[in-house]
């Protein structure tokens, strides 16, 4: 009994409270929704939102690592997601030929999507992170455009001899049993939707685990030091570029994984979906949730994805109301009076459980 109490105390101590709350929210939401699914008490509307929401949450968490902890603005999230989505789909189609277990294929596809996206992250990170200021934002934006254009012209087919790639025109020359997985402008064709809500939640938990462990480690403190004062950090011997690259690649890997989860949740996928607007959208989730606040990111992403669907009853005025809600939330979350009341609420909640605090 005492041990449990001690563990609880540790989990809710200042050091660990943030991550405990994050994990708890995700697990609680999962239990509630999964129960609703099992008992059939859930609408199709909510069901169809589950997998995209999980993907966006992971992508937003990864971006929050960059914006919140590294202090660099990255507008290439959509590009990394696209890499993860398209190559994850190819990997899934490829592995499905040899492995019958869906779960294993999904895991392998997510790993491939993450690794390729991470490689892209390293590729542009190495030259660019040496620069200072807003260059990263601009270069990642360009990267996003390049990836979109490349994928629009890419043809990938699978037949008994393996994978065939061709560019601009379809010269894959496959055997008759071959299937085109990526068809240029038409996009990727997903033969089997492997993503599930459970996989999505596990990926969120994985992302949280990676991010919290990174930022609370020696590397993480170094990353934050680079953000706060680059000169001071390098003067005490922190290799700034190395740590920036580390955070950047970790973020790219997680985003790629989110992309694979997203891609395998739909039966077809267009490259034009992964444009600049998607990057901005993910940035909005992060800013609204609070820089460096992982729990906030999860909540804001979910809300901002659910609101447009919930507003369908308003028909033509839907997008206007959505924008008004967005502006209102931004204003409210920056309003001193409201924040004051929120703080009082928090203190009040703590008073409700005095034992835990006094012990």
């Amino acid at each position: 009994m005492k041990k449990i109490e001690e563990t609880l105390k540790k989990l809710f101590s200042n050091q660990y409270r943030q991550r405990t709350v994050s994990y708890l929210i995700v697990v609680l939401a999962y239990v509630i929704i999964e129960t609703a699914i099992r008992t059939g008490n859930i609408s199709n509307t909510i069901k169809s939102l589950l997998i995209p929401t999980c993907s966006y949450i992971v992508a937003a968490l990864a971006l929050n690592l960059l914006v919140g902890y590294l202090g660099d603005l990255c507008l290439g999230q959509a590009g990394f997601m696209a890499v993860g989505a398209f190559f994850g789909v190819v990997a899934a189609a490829f592995f499905a030929k040899y492995i019958s277990s869906n779960v294993l294929v999904l895991i392998l596809a997510i790993v491939v999507g993450g690794v390729l996206s991470g490689a892209c992250g390293a590729l542009i990170g190495i030259p660019v992170l040496k620069l200072q200021g807003d260059y990263l934002a601009i270069v990642t934006l360009a990267f996003c455009q390049i990836i979109k254009t490349l994928l629009l012209n890419l043809y990938v087919g699978i037949d008994s001899r393996g994978l065939h790639f061709s560019f601009i025109t379809d010269n894959t020359n496959m055997d008759p049993d071959g299937v085109l997985v990526i068809k240029g402008a038409i996009g990727a064709n997903v033969t089997k939707k492997l993503s599930s809500f459970t996989a999505g939640v596990l990926l969120i938990l994985f992302a949280l685990f990676v991010i919290y462990n990174l930022i609370n480690s020696r590397h993480g403190r170094a990353i934050q030091a680079c953000r706060d004062n680059r000169i001071a950090a390098s003067s005490v011997g922190i290799p700034v570029n190395k740590y920036k690259l580390l955070a950047f690649v970790v973020s790219a890997i997680l985003t790629g994984m989110a992309g694979t989860l997203y891609g395998l949740g739909f039966s077809s996928l267009k490259a034009s979906k992964f444009d600049f607007n998607l990057s901005i959208l993910i940035l909005v989730y992060v800013v609204l949730g609070g820089l460096g606040n992982m729990t906030g990111t999860i909540v804001s992403t979910t809300l901002l994805l659910v609101i447009p669907e919930a507003l369908r009853a308003f028909n033509d005025y839907r997008m206007i109301i959505y924008s008004i809600v967005l502006i209102a939330v931004m204003l409210i979350s920056n309003n001193a009076t409201i924040m004051f009341y929120l703080k009082r609420c928090k203190e009040y909640c703590r008073k409700l459980f005095p034992k835990r605090r006094t012990e």
Binding site: T45, S268, K270
Partner: protein, 385 residues
């Protein structure tokens, strides 16, 4: 006391949540028996850059539903949601339509979203007919996914055949929008058929939506093209034709059904389109009574002339209505039963509507109808022979 308040509040929260999910659960259960009307669902871009297509289809379908309901027989209810021309949103729309209790579907207006949701319709056994999703892959997704418009490759073939048969020219230049599957699909089949018919494609200019403002018309002129083929939507068509004419270069312009709408643009001098040929199954200026009545009703609703998309939407609803009445369907049937009736009826159904006479459907779900070539003369559409 305060503790009690918190407990009460949390209980209230849980209850309201339960209430929400309970409510939607009931809605779901209601979809099985259909009710007293046949619910037709669908989605299309009602906002954003492609909005005019969605709005046209929606308005056309609304007119058809109003007419059918006025007949007093089988009653329809229409619900077209906004998918913003995005596959992800289309999937959300599909889920909402299922919750609403959709019986029969118009799938999606545009190709990308149609591809993203077609297999969901197939899995759930809902009959779907897309008014204007023209990629051949859509109907390949299932045996009860049908199409009202021409496929992209058919248009390319028809255009090449017409140019060759009428001797409009032998040297052709093509402008292709490489990030648009409609444009690339039509262009690919056109080039293939052109080669087979002895036409020479002297050049092709590829562009994307990001650089669709500046067109090198001189390239086409220097290549000596007599015909400029435009497998595009009308905004790009307009810019390209303008760019060519600014150079004093006047080849024969040949568009496909995306050209529809060019004459209705605000602030554009329609004189520039004089002599342009294009393929379309529908022209609002056609003198027959059905077209004239539809054009009048459409004009009354939105204040401009209908295009091919509007006619497609209208025809889809009527084709579904004809199949349902011929198969003796009633409004209280479940969507799976309706699907069986529709699949049976569409094997033999012959329907004459705004976009074609005696249209039939083959087993793959593709429509069989003759493409029509129109020419613009004195600012109006004239059927070209």
């Amino acid at each position: 006391m305060k503790k009690l308040l918190v407990v009460l509040l949390s209980v209230l929260c849980v209850l309201s949540l339960a209430g929400c999910s309970g409510g939607s659960g009931n809605g779901d259960a209601g979809s099985g028996d259909g009710g007293t009307v046949v619910k037709i669902g669908g989605s299309g871009p009602l906002s954003g850059p492609a909005a005019q297509y969605g709005i046209a289809v929606k308005t056309g379908a609304e007119i058809a539903v109003e007419e059918i309901n006025a007949l007093g027989g089988l009653q329809f209810e229409l619900n077209v949601l906004d998918d913003e021309h995005d596959g992800e949103k289309a999937a959300n729309c599909y889920a909402q339509l299922t919750d609403w209790g959709m019986d029969v579907s118009m799938l999606c207006v545009t190709t990308g979203p149609s591809l993203a949701v077609a297999d969901m319709y197939q899995e759930d056994g809902v009959f779907a007919m897309t008014p204007s999703g023209s990629a051949p892959d859509i109907i390949a997704k299932g045996d009860h996914i049908f199409r009202m418009c021409f496929a992209d490759p058919e248009q390319g073939v028809a255009a090449a055949d017409y140019i060759a048969a009428k001797g409009l020219g032998t040297k052709v230049f093509v402008f292709t929008k490489s990030d648009d599957e409609y444009s690339t699909g039509v262009a690919a089949s056109f080039k293939e058929e052109a080669a087979a018919k002895g036409l020479e494609v002297v050049g092709e200019y590829l562009f994307t939506s990001d650089n669709a403002t500046d067109f090198p018309a001189a390239q086409a002129q220097e290549a000596g093209a007599e015909v400029v083929f435009l497998p595009l939507y009308y905004e790009d068509d307009t810019r390209i034709i303008k760019a060519c004419q600014d150079l004093g270069y006047n080849p024969v312009f040949f568009g496909v059904d995306g050209f529809d709408g060019a004459l209705e643009q605000e602030g554009v001098d329609v004189a520039m389109f004089e002599g342009v040929y294009y393929l379309t199954p529908f022209a609002y200026s056609a003198p027959d009574e059905a077209t004239q009545s539809f054009t009048a009703k459409f004009n009354e609703k939105v204040g401009y002339n209908p295009n091919q998309f509007a006619a497609d939407g209208y025809d889809v609803v009527y084709a579904i209505y004809n199949a349902l009445t011929a198969g003796g369907a009633t409004a209280d049937m479940a969507k799976e039963e309706l699907n069986v009736i529709m699949m049976e009826q569409f094997k033999t159904l012959s329907y004459s509507g705004l976009t074609g006479e005696n249209m039939t459907w083959d087993a793959s779900g593709a429509v069989v109808k003759a493409p029509l070539v129109f020419r613009i003369e004195n600012g109006a559409l004239v059927a070209a022979d």
